[in-house]
Amino acid sequence: MNEMISTLVFYVLAMVILGTALGVVMSRNLVHSALLMTACFIGVGILFFYLDADFLGAMEFMLYSGGVAILVVMGVMLTKRHDGPPGNPFNNNTILALGGAGLFVLVMIGVVISTPAPAGGYVSPDTVNELADMMLNKYILPFEIAATLLLAALVGAIILAKGDGEA
């Protein structure tokens, strides 16, 4: 009974994620795309909770469905030319893109189905504690590099948005 509910939850989550992702791509209005993208990120965050990654789920909610969604909506507003809703047109490569994406998903389905699933699994009792421990001991160098990357991105975004000679 418990397992059935768990399976049902996964399929509902998968439908929400894939449905909203399709909506992002197919929507005619760019603002609708941005809002559906937020819903998709919320679905992915709940999937992280489902997979026992609670810290990552919280991070997904805060960064993606909070920060990235706001950034994208602001980008849509700042780059709108006409009155009326901002459009979201396709280019001339639609068939080619559809073929490439379809080929990719077919190959991936084949690979996943033909590979035997590994046994085992790992669930941490306290993800925050363990992640912090790894980040500040074994993985301290990537942590510092990520900090530098964030600083560079911050300065770069400010300079890009200001333009040259406007400081």
């Binding site: 992002v24 760019l30 993606y64 280019n91 893109a97 490439g100 379809g102 590994p118 992640l131």
Partner: protein, 103 residues
């Protein structure tokens, strides 16, 4: 039938291909950025699923996801700043019209 690694990998593959289609078939830079974000999320799902369902003894996969999220957020900030800059200079963010460097 309980949910295993294969289900998560299939979901991530479908999400990735939807994002790939969005990134390849759109005209607007912001829409292309949205497609790239979907692809990044699919990769994150893969990391977490491998950490959850294969034989590991620590949270390396989840830690990699933390770094992937960091890079993804920095990327979207730079991308939106670039789109704003291009719009300021040329009054368009249609990628089909941005072909100055075409040989």
């Amino acid at each position: 039938m309980s949910i295993g690694l294969g289900h998560c990998l299939l979901l991530a593959a479908m999400l990735f291909s939807i994002g790939l289609y969005g990134a390849l078939a759109k005209r607007n830079i912001i829409a292309i950025l949205m497609g790239i974000e979907l692809m990044l999320n699919a990769v994150n799902i893969n990391f977490v699923a491998f950490n959850r369902f294969t034989v590991v003894s620590d949270l390396t996969g989840q830690l990699m996801t933390v770094f992937a999220i960091t890079v993804g957020v920095a990327e979207v900030a730079i991308g939106v700043a670039l789109a704003y800059r291009i719009y300021n200079d040329r009054l368009t963010i249609n990628v089909d019209e941005l072909d100055n460097m075409k040989g």
